[in-house]
Structure formats: structure tokens, C-alpha cells
Assembly symmetry: D2
Homo-oligomer: 307 residues x 4
């Protein structure tokens, strides 16, 4: 189709591409609005200055992100189709400034698709990180864990179908036989979908449309690419970060430099640095760093001088 | 403690009261800010009028709710501690204008508490409502469903503990024995909590603090008391509605009259009513309805007259 | 440009069209994402049903809007460039679920553009509506008011420029001469833009980019097309409603029927109708109303029967 | 009144205290919910650990703020009554996650109260900061500016009253006489309040109730205490920061250390520091800094080592 809107070649080439995540999940761009020129355009409305060169646009984007001027980044939107395990969806949904339409298990029957981690991702509880995992299992142990997860997932789906009245018999588990004997004697009609789904564990896949603006995307990606985020959601954040880098490369670079790989010094850390450093020497060191702008160098030097 | 803040006797009497929901869940008020006098106070700032009588306050509240002047209702807050099944939590969380701190299964081990419906709540899929249930099962069928749900829940928790490395052996299921044989031969350390929880089905209970302002509470309660809402979330909405009625009785009454039990006529329905009715006769009928204000009667009559 | 995204011919034809508002204002579509097919698509993810016919799409949209299923409407976005008086901007900004980048009077000098109402819009305070206007002035009075507004606006801008250090002399007001004498004796550098703008009255025009999703657009348009909204913001709402009707005609129709021209009966009004009506007769009347769906007729009849 | 809620002595002592801002403005706490114990309580629900000592509470708060775990801070609320110039209100309102009820100039007549800066605050446009002021005027110039602001404000209010039909004659300006002659010949009824207010400049005071949760308060205070914020809004931010420090001293301290007086190093700055520093020496320096936690020291050292 012909459009007069801002068009982004990378996204056009990748609409419909499934960026695979985990064993059965994916992230796919369904629609988008704008690109980094839209951010620049909005910023220039606020600041009242006209169109500028490409390098000035790049610097403006870096300046905006660095200074926390977040509203121009709200001027772009992206809509994803995602397939993801319920426990990952439960983490994503905490980012409230997004729009979501999720597949409803009240209306429809969920597919038999569940997440089973790769052997190397099955790890013991971390001892120093209360919310993480680290170390490794023996291969035999990891395989046994995988077997339990598989059996649990299959078994739950078997019951799901039995409860929906859609499954008749044959199972390797004797208690499955028992259900069949019970129900199919008496023309069991199945129970409501909204109830039957209660047996499904949180590693089952759900799907949704998830739409977000650029500002909220960047904040989410910072949090969910973090090493403290659960590995499974990080996989989705990585796929979305790849999409970001193709869509808005200068925004991506600025995000890496000022958000993802930045570090916030506390007031006390700044004081410790001030005591330790000879600012003049550091000023010399900075001269060779062409990738730091003049304004940023001045700011950092002033900080260390205590100005 | 002594406070100069607006204090509400009903909530003071009920702080810490667990309003029971389903088999193991509850809603409990932890804290609150303001009561209906706060709503009136905020509305009077906007409209610049001074303090008024109690009956005028009540009418102002009714007027605000009826006219959709929602911002004064944002001026009160309530914070609940809730215990609720994961699938219910997944519905609640769609109300984005609330603040939530949920028990984290990455940090902690979930208790063995799960929701099993009462026999009479176990119903077939509704045939005319794609998202609901209706009709009934035989008692034998309902009991069998309950058995499946129980077995599924217990079984999943058994595996959860096995995966956490906390369970040694003995089970009535032969495959459970197999796990034990495998793992406990070789000092299985358990896997990370964030992974082990993947086996738990969505009828397991979670807990959270859930805080909301008055406006968003009223909107949520309308949606979740609705007959289209799933019965299990309705139980929570009903408990919260009871709390609302004790906390702010005039707001509750206005909510019943203008939101919960109101009905929105479409433009076409209005036209049909206009054709059918003799407005003068209806005007007579209205005279005996003392519970409709003069202003509302005029408005309704004008609507039917097509003014 | 070529795009694989959903494209809307009406908006493509009207990108860059200035929909004039008031004397100098406008609304202009800068960008958009999706159209009503996007709403249908999102709803079908939730409800798990496949692509359907055009008439089913239309009915689905009507159903969603009627039932308050608002999330699918969030799946479309529109971005406007607007020029509007400050007092109107102050009303718009209360719709918090929008993204805004406004022209900043700290960075830039505002243009000399201000809103002067047409003679017929200059009206006395309404006596029965505390927030409105009604009745009329004599032509002479209206002209005098206009003169005051003009003089005030011009005078303020004169001072604005004087304060910015950009204006030298000549004015019909003697005190203007005095300023010049004072300042230009002594090389007055002008004061900061962020201070100088304090003299400007709220009928001065500002500009912004204002971006919103479909759901929040519909809610805003309902409130701001209402007869209780100030006439000046209504003019903007009307322009945006025209754009809506071209962009998503079925959504517009549903919005008219179920939001803009609907009427919400209170519980007490329903009771009064029940007493007055012979439901069977009304059921007959309804038969001839082909524009009310079967489902809606049943619902209304059940309501009136008290089922 | 007696309450079982969390009560904060500082706020109890200061409910109703007007913290003066600018010449006629103020910030006053009207109501609040919770204090820092509420934040700790919510965090402990998420992380599943029990009540701890006071010093552990303080460290938990610092940890939460440092790590960007913002949701527990949403669990407290504060409601302010504020009087502030319109141009300051226009900046505040950009913080969308707050609830607002503003005095309406459609319903009521604004008081004759306007902001006139102190002489030393009347400054030229900054040459290196496009959005700021710096340098100074001569006393004579500053006095003249003040005169213009005063005259503009008085003059506008004079017209406001004339337009409202409330002012009869006598003025030092000849055109004022003209208005009177015109209007009072012919029983001018005044124009609607919503129109008359159009003549008022943005330095006029408005009032509102402004309610916000702790998380959004901290973010707003960071932005509005910043040296790039306009001085007039900074005055309000400072008053609110004082209130914060009395209400939740540990949160205030953490906010100073990790937000207000922190500094975010870009990826490139980190690289420059790595090149410059001898990490072992800096590790020695850090030993004497008792106010930096062990965990933070390790983190910083690891960062500088490039681990």
C-alpha cells in the first residue's frame, strides 16, 4: 500500500517475521507508527527549532535520552504479537503503560503448547541471589527435571481435555483410566472452559497483542534485559531489543550508552571518586575519548571538581 | 493512634478483618485515605462553593457520579491485602490504574493452597454465552471433576517440592517413586524457585497488596460484579463492594443507582421509546417517584420529547 | 512510500489537511496506526475466532463498544498537530492518557496569535448553568467586549516584546512610551523568555503534538462534544470527530449510537419505566425497529420485565 | 480522632501548615496514607520475608530505591492543597500520574492574586541555556520590569471585572473610562465567566488539590528540583521536598543519595574511568567510606574492573 506516513524500511522488511523465543514462543511486529524522525520532530515542536542535519538529529536523540526528556519518545508506537508462557506474561503485564489483548481461555481452548527449558537452563537456586539461579546440575538430574516438567505439562493437558469432555480414554496412567470410566459411562458434557483451564500450569503458552510507545518500551527493555530479570523474560526482551536496533538505530545506541550500560553513582560514590581522583589528569585522559561530547565532558569534570 | 485526618469508623472497625472469598482466599483492608467527605471537598474546590449540609453532600455525590465527574473520586484511596487464585489475579491485573505488590515465587516458596470450587459451582460450558458456564452436572460427575482438580493440585505441589529438592519419596503414584529414586541417589540440590514454580497450575493461590483510588475502584467493581464476569472474581468484587458500602454509603448508593444497576439506552432505543410513549402520561407516572430528582425528571422528559 | 501496514485512505488523503478551529487554530493529523480492522483483529485474538465478513466486523465493533470492551480500541493510535488557545489546552491536558509535546515558551518566543471570539459567541453568564453561557448581548456590547479582548491581547504582546528587549517605542498608550524611555536609555538586555511570557493572557495560542489511542479518543470526544463542555473546546472535539468518522466510520457510528447520543437510565428511572410500560406492546413497537439488533431487543425487554 | 492506621507524627503536626511559596502561593498537606513502614511492608510481601529491625528497614528502602524497585513506593499517598501561578500549574500537570481537582474559572471568579517576582529573580535570558535565565539587571531595570508586570496584572483584572459586569468606572487609564461609558449606559449584564477569564495572564494564581503516590512524588521532585527546572516550580518542589524529609526521612535520604544528587555515567564515561583508574588504589580509598555499603562497593569495583 502507498502511504504518506513515516515508513521504516527495517520494520517493513520484518513485518510478519517471527523472532523465535524459547521453545515455542515468538515476538512479531504487527504494526508501528513513526521512527526516530518522529521523536526528533516532536522534540523540535517543544524546543521550537527547525529541521536539522542527520548528525544533529542523532545528537538531539542522545541529548533527550540522557536528560530524561522522555515525552518525545512517546510519539512512536509499536505493536507486537507475542507467544509466551503464562509466568512470563505475568511479568510483562506489570508494565502497565502498554495495551494488551490476550487470548482468552474463557472463550477458547488453549493449544497444547508449553515451555520446557533447555537442559543447560535448568539450574539450582542461586545462593547469593534470592531471586535467581546459578550453578549447574548433572546431566542426569537435568534430564530428570525435564521429564517431570514434561510429564506435568502433558498430564495437565490430558486432564484439561478430559474436563472439557473432549478426551476419551487410553492413557499410561491408571488414574486416567479411572476418569474415563467415570465420565464416559454417563455422557459427561464437559465443564466450562473458564474452569477447566484451572488445571493448566504456568509454563503453558498464551498469546497476545502487546502495544507500547517508545518511552515505555525503552524503560521495559532496560528492566527486562537486566541480569536480575528472569532468563525467560530476558529472551523476549532481547528479541525486542534486536527489533529496536533495526527500527531506530540511534535510539538503540543512546539506550545502550545512557540506559542499558550506564551506571548511576550515588552521592557517596561521587564523593569517594572526588577524593581519589586528580581531576586534571582525568581531564587529560578524557581528551582521547572522542565518543564523549564536549558538553558531557564538562559536566563530568564539573561534577568531579564539586562545582 | 491519634490523627487529625479524616477517619472512617466502619473501616477502623474492620481493619484486619478478613472478608473470606472462595475456599482459602480473602480481602482485607490494610489502610485507607479519606471518605466521602474528601470527595465532596475536592469537588467543591473545583466548583468553588463552600461547605454544605449533609443532604447537599449526598446530592453532590450523586450528581458527580451521574455526570461522570470522576476526578473527585480519585481523592480517596484504599489498600487491600488479598489472597486469590492466580487465574483471578490475572483478571484483576488488567485494571492498570492500581498499585500492586505481589508475593514473588522467585523469592519465596508458595504455600500449598489451591482453589477447589464447591460442587454446585462446577458447571458445564454455557451454550449461549461463549465465556460462561450454566446448567449443572450430576453429583457424581461434579465429584469426579473435584477429584481431578484435587489430584492435579496435589500432584503439582508434590512435583514442586521435589523440584525444589525438599521432598523425599513416598507417594501413592508410582512415577513419584521414580523421581525419588533418581534424585535422592545423587544429592539433588533442587532447582531454582523461579523454575520450579512452572509446574503449579493457575488455581494456586497468590497474595498481594492492591491499592486503588475511589474512581478506579468504582469502575472495577462495575465490571467485576457484572454477570459476565467469571464467578470467582465476582466473589472478590462482592467482598470489596461490601467494604465500599460500609466505608462510603452514599457513594455506594449512587454507584448502585447510576452504575451497577443502570442501563444505557442506545440512540435507536431512545427513538423506539419516543415512538411508543405518550410523554405526558409518563410525566404523570414520574410524579410518584420521589427517589428521582427534579433535575433528572426534566432531563428524562426532555430526552423523550426529543428536545 | 510503500508499506505493508494497514493503510487508511481517508487519513492518507487528509494528512497535512488543517481542520480549522476558532479564528487561528487547527487540528491536523500527522500520523496514525491502524484502522477499524486493527480493532477487530485485536478483539479476535482475545476471543479466539477467525476472520469474518465485513458485516460481522461491523457488528463486532458495535458489540465491543456497547459492552465496554475498551481494550481493542487501544490498538489504534492517532497523532494530531494542534494550535489552540492556552485555556483550551488546559482543558485538553486533563485527559491524561495522551502523549503531548507542547511548544515551550521557555525555549521560544510565542507568536502574536490570540483567540477573539465571534460576536455571536460572546454571551452572558448562563443563569441556570453555573459553568456556561447563554442569552445574548446587544451588538454594541458584543463589539465593546471584542474591543477589550483585542486591546488586552495586543497590549500584553506589546509588553511581552518590551520585556524580551525586542520592542523599541511607538505606542498609542502613554505608559508604553514610558517603558521605552526607561529601557532604551540604558541598553536593557531583555528578561528571560520563561519570565516574559508571564504577561500573556490565556487566550494566546499555543501548539502541540497530541497523540492518543482509539479508546481514549472516544472517551475524550464524548466528554468534549457534550453540551456542558466549553464551546471553544467543543470546536476542536468536532473537528476530531469529523476525522474519526472518515477514519473509522463503523466506530464513529457505534460511538454516536452507544456513547454520544446514548442515555443512561438510573435504577430508579428503570423502575418508573417498568411501572408505566406494557412490555408486550413495546415489544410490538420494537419489531419495526430494524436498526436494533435481536440481542439488544431481548436485553431491553428483559430489563423492562425485571428479569 | 482515633485510628488504627499507620500515623506519621510529622505530618500530623503539620496538617494545615501552609508552606509558603513565591509571593502568595503555598503547599499544604491535606491528607496522607502510610509512611515508610508501608513501603517496607509492601516490599516484604513481594520478597516474602518477615518484619525486621529498624536498620534493616532503612537498608531495604535504600536498596529498593537504588535498584529502581519502584512499586513499593506507590503504596503511600499524599494529598496537597496548593496555590500556584497558572504557568507553574501548567508545568505540574505534565506529571500525569497524579490526581487533580482545580479551581474552575468557569464556575467561579478568580481572586485578584498574581505572581510578581522579587527583584533579584528578574533576570536576563541565559546565553548558554536556552530555557533559563542568568546574569542580572540594573536595579532600575528590574524595578521597571516589576512595574510592567504589576500594571499588566492589575490592568487585566480590571478588564476581567469589567467583562464580568462587576466593575463600574474610575481608572487611571483613559480607555478604561471608555469601557465604562459604553457598558454602563446600557445595563451591560457581563459576559460568562468562562469567557471573561480569557484576559487573565498566566501569572495569575490558581488553586488545586493535587494527590500523588510516593513513587511519582519522588520522580517529580527529582525533575523539578533540578537546576534546569524553572525557578518558580522549584520553589514548590523545595517545599514538597521539605515535607517529604519530615514524613519519610529514610526515603528522603535515599532519594538524595540515589536520585537527586546521583550522577549517571554513560557507557563511554565508564570506559574512560576504567582507563584512568588503578582499581586497586580506588578499592583502598573506598575502605574509608563507611557510608557506602559492602554490596555497593563490590558492584562499583566490579564495574571498574569490567567484570
Amino acid at each position: 500500500m502507498e502511504t504518506s506516513r513515516v515508513t521504516n524500511q527495517y520494520l517493513e522488511d520484518n513485518l510478519e517475521t517471527e523472532f523465535k523465543c524459547l521453545d515455542h514462543g515468538f515476538v512479531r511486529v504487527v504494526d508501528y507508527m513513526g521512527d526516530e524522525s518522529s521523536i526528533v520532530q516532536a522534540a523540535r515542536v517543544s524546543y521550537g527549532t527547525g529541521t536539522k542535519s542527520v548528525s544533529e538529529d542523532k545528537n538531539l536523540i542522545r541529548y533527550l535520552l540522557r536528560q530524561g526528556h522522555s515525552t518525545p519518545f512517546e510519539m512512536v508506537e509499536i505493536k507486537f504479537h507475542m507467544k509466551l508462557p503464562i509466568f512470563v506474561a505475568r511479568q510483562f503485564i506489570r508494565h502497565r503503560m502498554a495495551s494488551v489483548n490476550e487470548y482468552s481461555a474463557r472463550y477458547s481452548i488453549l493449544d497444547k503448547e508449553f515451555y520446557i527449558p533447555k537442559l543447560q537452563d535448568i539450574q539450582p537456586q542461586s545462593t547469593d541471589n534470592k531471586q535467581g539461579r546459578s550453578g549447574e546440575l548433572t546431566e542426569k538430574q537435568a534430564n530428570e527435571v525435564k521429564e517431570i516438567l514434561l510429564e506435568n505439562s502433558n498430564n495437565a493437558y490430558w486432564k484439561y481435555e478430559v474436563l472439557l469432555g473432549e478426551k476419551k480414554g487410553d492413557s499410561k496412567f491408571s488414574y486416567h483410566e479411572d476418569y474415563n470410566n467415570t465420565f464416559y459411562d454417563e455422557k459427561f458434557p464437559g465443564i466450562a472452559r473458564e474452569m477447566a483451564r484451572m488445571v493448566l500450569p504456568v509454563n503453558y503458552y498464551t498469546q497476545w497483542y502487546w502495544k507500547v510507545d517508545g518511552n515505555n518500551l525503552l524503560k521495559m527493555l532496560k528492566l527486562r534485559n537486566d541480569k536480575h530479570a528472569q532468563k525467560e523474560i530476558r529472551v523476549y526482551a532481547e528479541a525486542m531489543t534486536e527489533i529496536l536496533s533495526g527500527w531506530m538505530p540511534n535510539v538503540f545506541d543512546a539506550w545502550v550508552d545512557y540506559m542499558a550500560e550506564s551506571y548511576t553513582l550515588s552521592k557517596q560514590m561521587i564523593e569517594a571518586l572526588r577524593k581519589y581522583m586528580t581531576v586534571e589528569d582525568f581531564e587529560d585522559e578524557l581528551k582521547s575519548h572522542k565518543d564523549i561530547s564536549k558538553r558531557e565532558k564538562e559536566e563530568l569534570i564539573n561534577l568531579l571538581k564539586g562545582n
